[in-house]
């Protein structure tokens, strides 16, 4: 009996090793095939990720709650340490903001009156939806977050994600219960913007670091460090005028922008439906909207 088992192992061992090697080679080839699928038909990969997000969002939602409480606890200890300083700072800021409020009210009023004089077509109304962030970035070279709201809650693809501070990104993948938001800092993110003060147009591109770069700026730019960057609304994905960040350096022709949003503190984001038609090229097979003749 014992000898027979021995004989079997003697025959089986090389076969098993060979089998394992073939399996490894096949699976490695499958991984490369997946990368090829990603390159050739990104829509397919996108749908798969949307479905996977649906499955795992409830689990992540549950798990992210205690971690959120822990983060809150750490924050409150930190805040306690500099309460007095912060109070003074806030008082000063409030005084400044009250001044701005008066200015804003006056301008709003004036704006409304001028609009009626001009018979300007009103901007479409925006609808809000607030969603909890349940998943962080899945890797060192991806900048995206997962939120616990999806198609059934009224989220649509390419909707704008904002916080009180400014633009976060846009909905890049959509499931029924969850959606993935591509952050501004991802290397696949491109947002049409302009420099608020000088009205110089550019494309804001992420490069996976905490800063973003301005591409396609005119050669003779006058924008300087400290200038605010806002969305321009070109392309129809983002509405115009959303605050994005400020210029932190303009050395060697590379203009770097620091976002207003603090990525570490993202807990809730607002998904805004500006009811923009979206001028992104429709995918093949989708109906093309009729343009004016």
């Amino acid at each position: 009996m014992k000898r027979r088992t021995g004989a079997l192992t003697w025959i089986a061992a090389p076969f098993r090793a060979w089998n394992q090697r073939v399996t490894l080679a096949l699976l490695g080839a499958a991984a490369i095939a997946l990368l090829a699928v990603e390159k050739t038909s990104p829509m397919l990969a996108e749908r798969a990720r949307g479905a996977a997000a649906d499955v795992v969002a409830p689990i992540l939602d549950l798990l992210s709650r205690p971690s959120a409480s822990a983060a809150h606890a750490i924050d409150s200890v930190r805040e306690l340490a500099r309460l007095r300083e912060e109070n003074a700072q806030l008082k000063e800021e409030q005084a400044r903001l009250l001044q701005w409020q008066t200015v804003a009210k006056r301008l709003d009023h004036e704006n409304e009156e001028l609009r009626t004089l001009l018979k300007l077509a009103p901007d479409p109304r925006a609808r809000f939806l607030t969603a909890r962030v349940v998943g962080g970035s899945g890797g060192a070279f991806v900048r995206s977050i997962l939120v616990a709201a999806g198609g059934r809650d009224g989220v649509r693809k390419n909707q704008t994600a904002v916080t009180g501070e400014g633009l976060v990104g846009r909905v890049s993948e959509l499931g029924e219960r969850a959606a993935r938001i591509l952050l501004l800092t991802d290397i696949n993110s491109r947002v049409p913007v302009f420099v608020e003060r000088t009205r110089e147009r550019a494309i804001l591109a992420g490069d996976n670091s905490d800063r973003m770069r301005l591409l396609y700026l005119p050669a003779d730019i006058t924008a300087t460090v400290g200038d605010r960057i806002v969305t321009s609304g070109h392309g129809g994905v983002f509405p115009p005028g959303l605050p994005v960040g400020i210029i932190t350096s303009t050395q060697g022709g590379v203009v770097q922008v620091q976002p207003y949003v603090d990525w570490e503190q993202l807990e809730y984001v607002r998904l805004v439906d500006y009811e923009l038609s979206g001028l992104l090229l429709p995918m093949a097979g989708q109906e093309q909207p009729l343009g004016p003749r």
Binding site: Q20, A31, I32, G136, G138, V142, I145, L146
Partner: protein, 169 residues
């Protein structure tokens, strides 16, 4: 008959524990921890598990299981599909083939080996990402992720060693 069935089930559960730890570390890497100065963890903790078990119990993480874990990491992390699959398969295969230098080696050498493996894996992910995206990506988050994994290695390895003694014998 019944006892052999339960024995088999017991053995199966024990042998599946490395895979369970790996999946658990994958989920930990996905939850937004919102801790200050924490780099994006991504696959780094999973890589520690894959490396450890490739040295100590190579058969407990078969290639199909690694494929599924990698695919889950890709689907849930939002990156390009296939990157993490490739990295986990290659890490496991490379570590298994270099196993004879690590078995019985001092902890420092095994730890150093992990640093090398994790760095190579990160550089591979970096290059694939740039090739597919057609743009340059900043490598700093990758480096900080690797450093975090290397820092976490002694803690996780100690835990795995205890688990190995208790569960796998």
């Amino acid at each position: 008959m019944t006892s052999t069935f339960w024995q088999r089930l017991d053995l199966l559960a024990r042998n599946a524990s490395p895979l369970a730890f790996t999946v658990l570390l994958l989920i930990v890497g996905l939850v937004p921890l919102r801790l200050p100065f924490l780099p994006p963890l991504g696959i780094n903790l999973v890589l520690v598990s894959v490396y450890y078990w490739a040295i100590h119990r190579p058969s407990t993480l078969p290639a199909p299981a690694l494929f599924i874990v990698g695919l889950a990491a890709d689907l849930l992390g939002g990156g390009f599909l296939g990157i993490n699959v490739l990295i986990l398969l290659l890490t496991h295969a490379a570590t298994v083939s270099a196993r004879r230098w690590f078995v019985g080696a001092s902890f420092a050498i095994v730890w150093w080996g992990y640093a090398v493996v994790a760095t190579l894996a990160m550089l591979l992910a970096w290059m694939i990402t740039m090739t597919l995206a057609g743009a340059t990506a900043d490598v700093t988050p990758g480096i900080s992720g690797v450093l975090f994994g290397v820092g976490a290695y002694p803690l996780l390895a100690t835990f795995f060693a205890h688990a190995q003694r208790a569960l796998l014998r």
